[in-house]
Symmetry: C2
Amino acid sequence: MARALIQALTGNVEFGESLSAKERLLLNSFPPQKLEFEKNTVVFREGEPANQFLLVEKGVCFTHRHLEDGSRQIIEFYFPREVVALGELSKAHHSAGLMTLSDTVLAVYDKDEITQGFSESPELSRLFIRMISKQQANLTERLVGLTRYSARQRMAHFLLEVDFRLKRSEMLDFQELSGKCSQTVMPEETTPNRSLVKIPQVLIADSLGLSIVHVNRILRQLREQGCIATRGYGIELSDIKALKGIAGWAAENPTAPKDAVTPAIPSISVE
Amino acid sequence: MARALIQALTGNVEFGESLSAKERLLLNSFPPQKLEFEKNTVVFREGEPANQFLLVEKGVCFTHRHLEDGSRQIIEFYFPREVVALGELSKAHHSAGLMTLSDTVLAVYDKDEITQGFSESPELSRLFIRMISKQQANLTERLVGLTRYSARQRMAHFLLEVDFRLKRSEMLDFQELSGKCSQTVMPEETTPNRSLVKIPQVLIADSLGLSIVHVNRILRQLREQGCIATRGYGIELSDIKALKGIAGWAAENPTAPKDAVTPAIPSISVE
DNA sequence: CGGTTTTTTGATGGACGTCAACCCAAGTGG
DNA sequence: CCACTTGGGTTGACGTCCATCAAAAAACCG
C-alpha cells in the first residue's frame, strides 16, 4: 500500500500537493514491511545501524536523545502519516532513539532501495530534498523557540502544534476512506469535536526542555485562565484563539496588558 | 572555479571524501558568480526570494532571525568553504537573513541549475542529501545543547567549534595552495599558532541565546580559570583540553570537584 | 585626540529547577 | 473486597541561573 506513503509524503511537504502518476508507480515498487509495537516500546536506540526509514501508519512515537546526566531531550513527535528520521536517510546509524507512546504500526522502507530509485527518477530525489528541507525548517523554528520564548509560549505552541498535526492525520484518514470505500474501517472511538491532546506531562517536559514541575505549573496557569481543561490524562484545548495569542506574542508585562490581541506569528506548522 | 565548490562540499560532508571525476565535470558546468560584501552588510533578508545558494570563499557570515520583541537569534555561522542555507535549496524564500561579519567573498550558484543537474546525476542528488542531512544533525545537536547545557558548557562548546571550523578552512586553503602553486596568495596576517576567535560578544550572545552581560561574565570566569585569554577584541583559547572538559561534562557540584577529567562527549563537529 | 563601538562590572529581580511531599486512578494479588 | 503497588499528576518551599537596568572602562577609528 504505497498509497499511504504517497499521501503522507505529500501531506508532509505541502498540504494537498500530489505526485505525478509516474512517481506513484515508482513508489509502488517499494513494498514496505509492516511492524507493530506496543506502547512505551523501544523501536531502535541511538547509535544502532539505520537501514530503513519509517512511516507511521497508526499511533504516536517520538525520537529522543539521552544525555550523560540522565536527562532526556525529545527531538520530535511523529503522528500518523508522518515520516520518521528523514534526516538519517544518508546516515549509517541512528542519531536518536525512537520510542512509541501508544500502540503503533510502522511501515518500513528500505533506504537503499529508495536511494537507488533516485537514479531512475530525479523527481523522487527532489521530493525527498523538499521533505528534508521542511523538517529542517521545523527544527530551526524549534531551536529559536527554545531559547527565545518563555515556558508559557512554548507550551501554548506545543499544544497547538500537536492538535494541528493530529487533526491533519485524521483528515488524511478521512480522505482515504472517502476515496475508496472498500474498507469498513470506521473510527471506533467517539471522535471528540473538541481538541484533546493525550501526552504525559513528562514527555512534554522533555520536549520543551522544562522540568515536570514547571510544566504542571504552566498547565495550571492556562487552566485557571480558561485556555485549557484537563480531562483525565488528557489536555483539552478549550480556547484555541487565546492559545494562539499566547504562543505568538503575549504582552507579559503588566504595564500594558493587551490580552490576546496580537496575532500568532511564529509557528512550526500551525496556522 | 568549481574546484572550490567541490572541496567545500566534500569537506562539509565528510572530511576527505571526494567526488568522482564525473561529478567534478558536472559541477564545473555550473559557473558561479562571485560577489563581494563589506563587513556588517546585509546579504539578504528573511522572506526575500531565494534563487541561489551560496558558498563562502573568504570571510565569515551568519544567518539570523529577528523576533517580534526585537531580539535576534543567530542560526548558524559560516566560515570559508562552507555552504550557506542548504536547507533552502527547495524553498522559494529565505527563512533567515544573512549578514557578513567580516569582509566576505561569496560564490553564487543558481539553484535551478543545480536542481536540474539532479536529472543527469543521481550522485549529485545523493551528495546534496548527504550535505543537508549533516546540517540537520548539527541543528539537532544545537537544539539539545541549548536546552540541556549550562551557559558555561555552551560557551566552551561554541569556542571549540568555531576554532575547529576556522582551522579546517585554513587547512583546505593550504591544501589547495600546495595542489596548484600558480597563485602567489599567501596569508597576509601573521597566522597565530594559537587559536584565536574574533567574534563580538553580542553575536556570541545572540547565537547561544544568552544576554551580552552574561556572555561576558562567563568569559571572565573562563579567563580567571585560565582556559582562555582576551586579546583585544579576540578570544584566545589557551587551554583547549580544559575547554573540552567543560563542554563535555563538567562536575559543577562542589561535593565532587573532579576538575576537567571527564572527556568531551557531545560535539557538533568538534573532535 | 574626541567619538563610537565594544567590553566590563555591580545590583536587583524573575523565571525556572530541585527537593520533598501528597493525591488520585488503575491494576494486582490475596 | 480490601491492602498494596505503581505511574502519573499536583502543590509548596527554596535556591540558582541568568536577564535586566545602569554605568563606567577599554579598545578601536578617523
